[in-house]
Symmetry: none
Subunit: 221 residues, 4 copies
Amino acid sequence: MTHSAPMEPRGTLNERRWGEVLQIASEVFGERGYPAASLQEIAERLGITKGSLYYYARTKEDLLFEILKRAHDYALTLIREDPLTQRMSPRQRLERFIRRWMDGLQRQQYTALSGGPGGSRDSWTDFLSDDRRSRIIGKRHELNRYLLDLIRNGMAQGEFNPQLDAQHVASWIFILMNDTRLWFRAKSMSWDYITNWYVTLVSRGLAPGSLDRESSLDPSS
Amino acid sequence: MTHSAPMEPRGTLNERRWGEVLQIASEVFGERGYPAASLQEIAERLGITKGSLYYYARTKEDLLFEILKRAHDYALTLIREDPLTQRMSPRQRLERFIRRWMDGLQRQQYTALSGGPGGSRDSWTDFLSDDRRSRIIGKRHELNRYLLDLIRNGMAQGEFNPQLDAQHVASWIFILMNDTRLWFRAKSMSWDYITNWYVTLVSRGLAPGSLDRESSLDPSS
Amino acid sequence: MTHSAPMEPRGTLNERRWGEVLQIASEVFGERGYPAASLQEIAERLGITKGSLYYYARTKEDLLFEILKRAHDYALTLIREDPLTQRMSPRQRLERFIRRWMDGLQRQQYTALSGGPGGSRDSWTDFLSDDRRSRIIGKRHELNRYLLDLIRNGMAQGEFNPQLDAQHVASWIFILMNDTRLWFRAKSMSWDYITNWYVTLVSRGLAPGSLDRESSLDPSS
Amino acid sequence: MTHSAPMEPRGTLNERRWGEVLQIASEVFGERGYPAASLQEIAERLGITKGSLYYYARTKEDLLFEILKRAHDYALTLIREDPLTQRMSPRQRLERFIRRWMDGLQRQQYTALSGGPGGSRDSWTDFLSDDRRSRIIGKRHELNRYLLDLIRNGMAQGEFNPQLDAQHVASWIFILMNDTRLWFRAKSMSWDYITNWYVTLVSRGLAPGSLDRESSLDPSS
DNA sequence: TATGAATGAGATTTCATTCAT
DNA sequence: TATGAATGAAATCTCATTCAT
């Protein structure tokens, strides 16, 4: 059809209800994965009918996009450093970033969907249109850039092991943190404990010193 | 008897072709996720029609189950230690396990589906019937048990930091390794390099010594 | 979604059945108009279920496009002149064209949908995607071009009234002929009779001589 | 009585606003066709919400019916002849009718919907209830009757070719005129020019004299 | 072994319509 | 007069599955 551009559904004007819709949708997406999540189930949990969802979002993809947009915009607020932090060493800034990110993960609303780069399987952006996907990917690049620069700085200043591949390390750190929600259950240990463990792990993992080599397994050694 | 009990897919008679089918299916499952993977696409890649696929597998779930079974059975071969290794210290056995597992990951056929516990999201077993799921989960427990025991031994013997939660560490190590396929591209670095980096990371991460605490951020320190 | 291009449904390989499907679809489109035509009704008339239509065409638009493509390709065969006709005067060629086109209209399969330019309301191409629409419009331009050139030639050679707007006349002639199917019922008069009447009408309408002017109504004249 | 009989839309109380609503509705119907026209779009163009539209019209069909009624009532004013015209010959009365109708077409408000018989496809009355449809069809018959009588008179008096089918000619003349809006663009030619061309065309087309026959194509002639 | 032709259940979309406020 | 929030029916689309050949 040649015809004119339709506007946003009116439901998005009521910010509170719109937020509830996105909240529920993100939960269902998180539990079932995007393709297996049904609008039927989202509608049921909201206490409305399938057709009524149309008042809020024209398509299933609209829901996903809006959730991802919000999650990423929120994530972008986590890479901003206060003036004090800006003056610290890369090692300290990295530690602070890990703590900010973990704290953000815990607080954020659309907690079910990963808000950062690295994306464990079922990478949500696969289900967006080209246009929308690149808008989200753009935000991811920005997040990645922050961590990448931090690590490179640390290497240049001798705080981090320069033998490592900076991009690889950055991806690993994001995955390490974001995957937490996939297995974390508050019973056996606290979020703070995990955060401390990550800080230690990253700190030790990036410390200068040569990598273990295959030869270390050599019985002759 | 004339009434037909559910029988094995007939395709299993031709082991070679059956293997090809599972290979292709695992690729499509890996690329799209289980719900979004269509039998149409699997058939197309095999060069046959949708209907023909039913000669090999009676349901879509059959394909998934068979792939998971094979992947886990293969994984179980990776936790067997040769006599030499059995006599080594936990630290050395852990290093050897990481190398065996990473080597296995690279070699295994159904490379797209995680063959171990830890299950980053889209946990494949979600899509199996209860019966089949518990058969796979059983194998997972066995894999997990191996690593868990190894880590506990190391802690008891003072090689690993006893402050850590052994189960958590075990899960983390599996996730660390299995997620590799999600981002690994052979261009920028070799599989061996990654393996060495994991060995180092795990080795340093588990080494005795207290965790970094929030107070380390205290500017007064 | 990023994913791969799906192929044509298999049903299109059976040319005979595929033709029947298009035939029925064109009838329903013709009777109801495109938006009001339901796949349900098309399927019913074919004696299959709604879902089965997918075996032949992936979308409703696919049906429309294929029908329009065929109707236009057929129409393009009608503007080809045999060697004898090519040597005739524009006036004679125009008469022959009208007879060929009217004959074609009567014979063509997807008779319900206009196969030429001019398009009375509910212009079918409105319902196609941009890409497909321009492919059909391209064929329309070719048809239009033929008649336009014919008329201009006739004007240049003094056979037709040069005061007329050639494009307007061409559109009018196409509409005149294509609209026939909208009201023609074989009872009261024959297709041949209509054809003769059109030939006469066009012939007299294009003949040189000044147009009637408002002043002709002036009682003083 | 407490049970509510179907009543006129309340909006009819404010005649001005009601007219605007019908105006916009007729535009949207004209652009999209009745089934594809959405109340959403009509409401948007009116600057109100979908729900508000129901203050004016209780159903979508109400809008269509009211528009058709007005368009036909207006058309009926165009077949009234002033005393001077009544005394003219059929040929002159026909010319005057064409000029009145074309003038009316240009002036009328609900310009998008054909206000006369002959109905090029997507015949609007198809979408009305039986009752309403016959009310509109009644008006159409009256319009048709006027032109039919005029033509028959002319034939009886030897001004028009008696070989022609009067009803067919009447339909053709209505279609000729009403279709104008489907392709008319003010750029390349004026409405007056078109009108003159129609007068000429009809005048020549109806003039006595035998129709062209197939034999005229005979090369031997 | 394989295919062609179909089914039917469920998913997403669309939209005229309702109604309390 | 108008709106916001819904509904429900019907339409399109998707796809695992069946089965005669």
